[in-house]
């Protein structure tokens, strides 16, 4: 489960873009996810604080997602989120709408059987996200997203033992396109820019998942970190800005549970807590939903 921190809000994205699971040829896995993310404390630059003018900021999303096995070694994925935001205090109006569609191609260029222990695989993923509507990113923390086109290259190393021990490590670099605001100038990072266009710094992220994965039952602990490669800090008592340097570290878990007697249906839940950050909310995010697999998900046993 990857969480995109859109400004100070968190939005669910397809789980499978960051994990080591591949669907076999002809298999479709689709589902609907609900994400609930909230924070009442955030980092203004590196200063952690609360703000009575927003209270608790809640971001919710419903995402439709699908993952299809074009070949055993080649999957395509997509997700479409509808997002809505709310502040518990103050006068700011919540925002809502379709956010960014994500599309990805996932492939397994390397597969190595390590004797009787299990399988080690290298997985590459190319993903893009594109704003679906002309929502504005200029009312953070209540904007539904950052409205930047992105292109991500992700590499993953995945080990699955015969007994179900699962280890996944992933690292990605995301290029982000410039964002256009509705206003003719803005001040950020110590400078007045006489333009409506904002340069978006690129983003590096990595994550690790360790746990158990066997017979469609998955239970893992997760760690994820994001580093934005540039951008300014939120100044004292300023509003957040779309190109801020948004960094975080988060820990959580993820459980996938096959519904008894209906093995093509799986219940899925993930939790993540941001425990350190910069220009982001200290969010707790829970994502839950049902996934249906038409054809059985390929057993990733060796």
């Amino acid at each position: 489960m990857s969480v995109v921190l859109a400004g100070l809000c968190a939005v669910g994205k397809a789980q499978t873009m960051e994990d080591g699971v591949m669907l076999s040829q002809g298999t479709l896995c689709a589902g609907a996810l609900y994400t609930h993310s909230q924070w009442d404390s955030y980092w203004e630059g590196s200063l952690q604080r609360v703000n009575g003018n927003v209270g608790t900021v809640t971001t919710q999303a419903v995402s439709a997602m699908a993952n299809y096995g074009v070949r055993d070694w080649l999957n395509v994925l997509g997700s479409v989120p509808y997002v809505w935001t709310n502040a518990s205090q103050g006068v700011l109006h919540g925002q809502s709408g379709f956010q960014d569609v994500s599309l990805a191609v996932k492939a397994t260029p390397l597969r190595m059987k390590t004797g009787q222990f299990g399988t080690l695989r290298g997985i590459a993923l190319i993903a893009t996200s594109l704003p679906m509507t002309d929502y504005t990113p200029d009312l953070l923390p209540l904007s539904i997203g950052l409205h930047s086109k992105t292109l991500t290259g992700r590499g993953m190393v995945n080990f699955l033992s015969r007994q179900g021990m699962y280890v996944n490590a992933s690292a990605a670099y995301t290029f982000r396109g410039n964002v256009t605001l509705d206003r003719p100038y803005y001040y950020t990072n110590g400078q007045l820019y006489l333009s409506n266009e904002v340069a978006m710094p690129n983003v590096f992220d990595y994550s690790v998942g360790v746990g158990y994965y066997h017979h469609d039952l998955k239970a893992i602990g997760t760690f994820a970190a994001q580093q934005t490669r540039g951008g300014g800090d939120i100044r004292r008592q300023d509003m957040p800005f779309v190109s801020n340097r948004m960094n975080y570290q988060a820990a959580g878990f993820e459980v996938q549970y096959p519904i008894p007697h209906l093995r093509q249906l799986q219940y899925w839940v993930a939790y993540r807590n941001v425990f350190d950050g910069r220009n982001v909310g200290q969010s707790s995010t829970i994502t839950t939903g049902m996934m249906i697999t038409l054809h059985r998900e390929r057993q990733t046993t060796p």
Binding site: T114, G153, F175, D182
Partner: protein
């Protein structure tokens, strides 16, 4: 044990090509920060500007400027030799500075001022006990930084700098044509003119006058940026010298004149009522009690924790073109009573508008938000004026006049608007109906009349007069700016309609002056 299949190779090849594609997508994203200004082309040097009417100074000779040495003087020849030597080995930074200042000193300083306002436009963060610290001019770097360049503070700052610069340049023009010393490049053919040229005499240097006025007043108003301001002032003077436009003695005379005029304005600023504009807790309470005594619901801060009202006595700060009696005379009549049906209807209109916004209306809200970390509405109107100053080829003194008139009207608009706001102390829509949520930051001061509406109408009134061919555009911007506050959920229609009429009346005071100042 590694199986590298044909398929795998295909994947690898396609991955590599996608990565190549990605690297091309990520090509140059940089944004040009500063205004792109063409090198100036002067349609006139405004040789008679020394006779234009003054606003604060008694006349162009209030500050004396001694006659320069003749161009045959040995000292002056040494100054010319210095320029030649320097021109022979210009650094890239010096060339870049000359290009930057070739767009015009008045325009550049206005841009710098807008940047300083945006930098300082941050309200204090609350203390843990829910009180708010007050920015302290004696300790400007502490948290909260001094100043909080909110709209009234900024309106005043724009006006002081712009008017002082205009007065100093009129005085400079007077002496330029009294002494008629030509630029170094005209006195020595070995000197290249690297900045835009004209027949304007060079003593005292207009660039140095601008640099000195801005340096003194900007450091007074924005003390945390002193280093940046000093660097810009030094750079402008150096560009004037390296470009062959002004010699060291032209510059020294300009600096002295600029500093002396700035001192007159610093003294005025110390006694214009700004220091008392914040008021005291007892005075804030008296404002609320006054509204209650009139049978009205008094304004309440909706910041959490509640924040003291923004500069409640700014309405008593000295205006430029209006006497205190004028300010009272132009004050609009009262808003609809908070208990009236009309107020109920207007509140309902705000709610239905903000809950049913079109994307275009939302864009208007953001375009005109001009909230924290912005140049504020007065700066937005300066920004609007820039292309008209450029395209009409205004001389430096005329460009200074444009910004002086514009910002004089904007300051008077701030005074008049704030006087009305705190006279009526009327609540915001979201106070009367807490279910109203706003699309932009809620300003922490009373609702009636709308600041955006008063500022914009006053500014456009001046710009309509100065650039009549663009009047339809300016008036359209006024409507947009004013209505953006209804769309944003922070003003009633009455605030806006009455505010625009109020602003226009305020602007007329400046236009009346402009019609008779001798510059037409």
């Amino acid at each position: 044990m590694i199986h590298v299949s044909k398929m795998t190779r295909r994947v690898a090849v396609s991955s590599v090509s996608l990565l190549v594609l990605m690297s091309t997508v990520s090509c140059d994203k940089s944004i040009t920060a500063t205004e792109v200004l063409p090198a100036q082309i002067f349609t006139s040097v405004d040789a008679n500007a020394g006779a234009w009417k003054m606003i604060v100074l008694s006349g162009p000779t209030q500050i004396a400027v001694n006659a320069p040495a003749p161009v045959t003087d040995g000292g002056y020849k040494n100054e010319l030799a210095q320029i030649k030597t320097a021109q022979a080995s210009l650094t890239d930074a010096q060339k870049a500075a000359i290009t930057y200042w070739s767009g015009g000193g008045v325009l550049r300083w206005n841009e710098i001022l807008r940047e300083l306002v945006a930098k300082q436009d941050l309200p204090p963060a609350p203390n843990p006990d829910g009180s708010y610290p007050v920015p302290n001019a004696a300790n400007p770097f502490a948290d909260p930084q001094y100043p909080f360049a909110n709209p009234p503070y900024s309106a005043r700052a724009y006006s002081y700098v712009s008017i002082a610069q205009f007065e100093a340049l009129k005085s400079a023009w007077f002496y330029k044509y009294q002494y008629k010393r030509a630029s170094p490049y005209k006195n020595d053919s070995g000197i290249q003119p690297l900045l835009p040229t004209s027949d304007l005499p060079s003593y005292p240097s207009e660039d140095a006058v601008e640099a000195a006025v801005n340096q003194v007043l900007l450091k007074l108003l924005f003390p945390t940026s002193a280093d940046y301001i000093d660097a810009k002032a030094a750079e402008q003077q150096q560009a004037a010298m390296l470009s062959g436009r002004a010699s060291a003695s032209d510059i020294a005379a300009g600096v002295a004149l600029g500093q002396a005029v700035a001192a007159v304005f610093s003294a005025r600023a110390a006694n214009d009522g700004m220091r008392a504009a914040g008021g005291t807790a007892a005075q804030w309470q008296a404002l609320a009690d006054g509204a209650k005594a009139r049978g009205e619901i008094p304004w309440l801060s909706q910041d959490i924790p509640a924040r003291p009202p923004m500069l409640p006595f700014f309405g008593q700060v000295k205006a430029w073109m209006m006497t205190p009696a004028d300010v009272v005379k132009e004050r609009p009549g009262p808003p609809p009573s908070t208990s009236s049906t009309q107020m109920q209807q207007e509140t309902a209109e705000v709610k239905s508008t903000v809950d049913n916004l079109t994307r275009d209306q939302l864009a208007t809200v953001y375009k005109w938000a001009d909230g924290v970390s912005t140049a504020t509405p007065p700066g937005h109107w300066d920004f609007i004026a820039v292309p008209y100053v450029v395209s009409s080829g205004q001389s430096e003194v005329r460009a200074a006049r444009t910004f002086a008139l514009l910002n004089m009207a904007l300051h008077d608009a701030a005074v008049a608007c704030w006087e009305a706001k705190y006279f009526y102390f009327n609540p915001r829509p979201s106070q009367l109906d807490p279910s109203i949520k706003t699309m932009t930051g809620l300003p922490n001061f009373p609702s009636y009349v709308s600041g955006h509406s008063v500022f914009s109408a006053a500014a456009a009134d001046v710009l309509d007069y100065l650039f009549p061919s663009a009047a339809i555009y300016f008036d359209g911007q006024v409507q947009e700016a004013a209505m953006s506050r209804l769309y944003g959920g922070i003003h009633y229609r009455s605030d806006i309609m009455v505010g625009m009429a109020h602003g226009k009346r305020v602007g007329e005071y400046t236009v009346a002056f402009a019609k008779t100042d001798g510059a037409n």
